[in-house]
Symmetry: C2
Subunit: 323 residues, 2 copies
C-alpha cells in the first residue's frame, strides 16, 4: 500500500446503505480500520452505532463507529468501497478523489454494466478502480440498521488504473479478496470483470424488474408457472446478449440460478426497495446499458426492452407523485 | 327472418353488461323489440330500468325493460346479441340455443380470437353465428347503469351456419348492420371476420394488458414515451402475426390507432375493470389464442408472450386473494 506500507490498510465506506453497511461492519468486526462517510444517517449512526441483523451471523453491532459527515474530516483511505446507488457515482467522484490516499483502490460494490466506465474519467489517474460483485441478500431497515438474510460472497475484478500488467491487476484484486476473507466471507479475484458483470445480470435483470412490476418477492415469483417461464426467458436473453458481446457464460446457467433462487428466503431485490421508497431505480446500469450493448452486438432483447419500458413508465409516475 | 317474416325482428340480449346494455338500450330506443336476459342484476333492472349515461347521446333511460330471469320465460328471438365475457360462452351455449328462434342469428359482441370457433360446436346447426366488433368506450358503473364515453361503431361478419354462399352470408351480416344503423350508430357488414378480429386486436393487445400491468388509463399510457414505445412495439407484433396468418392489415395501422387513442378520453379498457373487480380476465381470447396462431404460423411474439405471462401471474394472485 502506498500510504500505509506495512501497516493495516485503512478502509473507507462511501455510501453506507445496505451493502456498504453490511460489508463495513463485517470488516470492522474482523479488526480492520474502517471509516464511514454518511449523510442523512450521520446523527443516528453517531448516536446509536451500526447494526446488522443477520440470519447467518446473528446480531452484529458496531459502536462507536468511525463516522464522518464530511469527506474533509476523513483520513486518507487505501481502499474505498462505494456502496451508493450507481446513479450517484458521478456526484460522488470528487468525494472519492478527496478521500483516497495516493494509489488507493476504489471498489464499486454495485450491480449492472458500465458503472466503472462511467466513473473512470472522473477519477484521479493515480487511483485503481475495481468492481466488487456481491452475492448477498441485504436491505436497510432503518438508519444504521441493515437486515442480512443470506449469503455474502464478494468477488473483485480490476477495471483500470496504474496497474497495466495482468499479474499486477490480479495481485490488487487478490489483496482486496484477502481483506474480505478476513471477515469469514467467501471472496476471490475475478479474471474478467465484464464477464462477471454479465453473469450477475442474469439474476438481476429478471428479479429486480419483475419484483417492481408485479409487486412480488422472489418466492411469489418462483411459485407461479407464468412468472417462472418469463424469468427463464429473460435469463436466456441476458445469456444470449452476453455471448453476443463475447462473454460465454456457464452452460445451463439459467437453471442453476433458478435452483439457487428456489432455495433463497423470500427476498425483495434492491430495486423493489428503491421503488417502494420512491427513490430512482438503477435502470441505466441494470437495463439500459446491457440492452445497448446487446443491440450494438446485433442481439435482440425484446423482453429486456419491454421490462425497461414498463419500469420507465412506473419510475416517471413515481417521480410525478412524489414531486 | 324465419320466425317473424315480415314483422319486426325480435332481439335478445344475452349478458347485459356494458356492451349488451349499451347496444340493447340503443336498439330499444330506436323502436326495436328488445328482450334482456339477466342474472344478478335482474331485480335492479326490473325495478329501476336500464340507463346509459352517454357523453355522446346524453342520458338514455329504458323503463320498463323486457327483462327475464330465466331463458324459459323469453320469447324466441331472431337475433341474439351475446355481450357476456368470452370465458362464459361455453356455459351460455344451452341458453342461446333455447332462446333462439329457428334460423336465428347469434352475434358475439366480443373481442379476441377464436371465440366463434369455440362456441360453434355447442350451437344448434340451424343457427347462424356472427361476430360483432364494437368500437366503443363503455363500462358498467352499477347494476343497470352503463357509462358510454365515446364512439359506438359496430361491424358484423358472418362466421358459420346454414348460409353457405358468400352472398347469403353477406346479406345476413348486412341485415344486422341495418338494424344497428337504425340506432344512429355506424354499422357495416365485414368481408372477413378473422381479418377484422386481428385488426381489432392491434388495439386490444397493448391497451387491455398494459392498463392492468401498469394500473393506468389510456391517457396516462399515451403521455409516457416509454409506454408509447412499448404500445407501438406490441401493435407491430400483432400486425406481423396477422400477416403471418394471412391477414394483411392496412399500412401504418399502428400510427392510425395511436392517433385515435390520443384523441380518446381517459379510458380504462374492459380488462382493467375485470381485474379491478376480481373477475377473470379474457386472457385466452385476447392473448393466448392469437399467440398460439402466431406461433403456429412461425411468427415470434415475445412481447405478447411476456404480457400474457405477467397478466397470468396477476390473475392467479387475484384469484388466490379473493378465494
Amino acid at each position: 500500500m502506498t500510504s500505509s506500507s506495512g501497516a493495516a490498510p485503512r478502509i473507507g465506506i462511501i455510501g453506507t446503505g445496505a451493502i456498504g453497511g453490511f460489508y463495513g461492519v463485517m470488516l470492522a468486526r474482523a479488526g480492520l480500520d474502517v471509516h464511514f462517510l454518511l449523510r442523512s444517517e450521520y446523527a443516528a449512526v453517531r448516536a446509536q452505532g451500526l447494526h446488522v441483523d443477520s440470519a447467518v451471523f446473528g446480531q452484529l453491532d458496531l459502536q462507536p463507529v468511525q463516522a464522518y459527515q464530511s469527506v474533509a474530516e476523513m483520513p486518507p483511505c487505501d481502499w474505498l468501497l462505494v456502496g451508493a446507488k450507481t446513479s450517484s457515482n458521478a456526484a460522488l467522484a470528487p468525494l472519492i478523489n478527496q478521500a483516497a490516499a495516493p494509489g488507493a483502490r476504489v471498489v464499486l460494490l454495485q450491480n449492472g454494466l458500465g458503472v466503472e466506465d462511467e466513473l473512470r474519467p472522473l477519477l484521479d489517474d493515480s487511483l485503481h478502480l475495481l468492481g466488487g460483485l456481491c452475492v448477498t441478500c441485504v436491505h436497510r431497515a432503518a438508519p444504521g440498521k441493515v437486515v442480512h438474510q443470506s449469503q455474502g460472497m464478494i468477488n473483485l475484478g480490476y477495471h483500470s488504473g496504474p496497474a497495466q500488467e495482468t499479474a499486477a491487476q490480479q495481485a490488487i484484486a487478490g489483496e482486496g479478496a484477502e481483506l474480505f476473507r478476513r471477515t469469514g466471507l467467501e471472496s476471490a479475484a475475478l479474471d474478467n470483470l465484464s464477464q462477471a458483470r454479465w453473469q450477475k445480470l442474469v439474476w438481476n435483470v429478471p428479479y429486480n424488474g419483475l419484483s417492481v412490476l408485479l409487486n412480488a418477492d422472489t418466492s411469489a415469483l418462483m411459485a407461479s408457472q407464468d412468472a417462472r417461464a418469463l424469468i427463464r426467458e429473460l435469463m436466456l436473453e441476458v445469456i444470449a446478449a452476453a455471448a453476443a458481446c463475447g462473454y460465454a457464460l456457464p452452460d445451463a446457467y439459467e437453471e442453476r440460478l433458478l435452483k439457487i433462487t428456489d432455495r433463497m428466503p423470500d427476498y425483495l431485490p434492491s430495486m423493489y426497495h428503491d421503488f417502494a421508497g420512491q427513490r430512482p431505480m438503477e435502470l441505466q446500469a441494470i437495463y439500459a446499458a446491457p440492452i445497448a450493448a446487446a443491440q450494438a452486438a446485433g442481439c435482440a432483447v425484446p423482453r429486456m426492452q419491454m421490462l425497461l419500458q414498463a419500469l420507465g413508465f412506473l419510475q416517471q409516475r413515481n417521480a410525478q407523485r412524489s414531486a
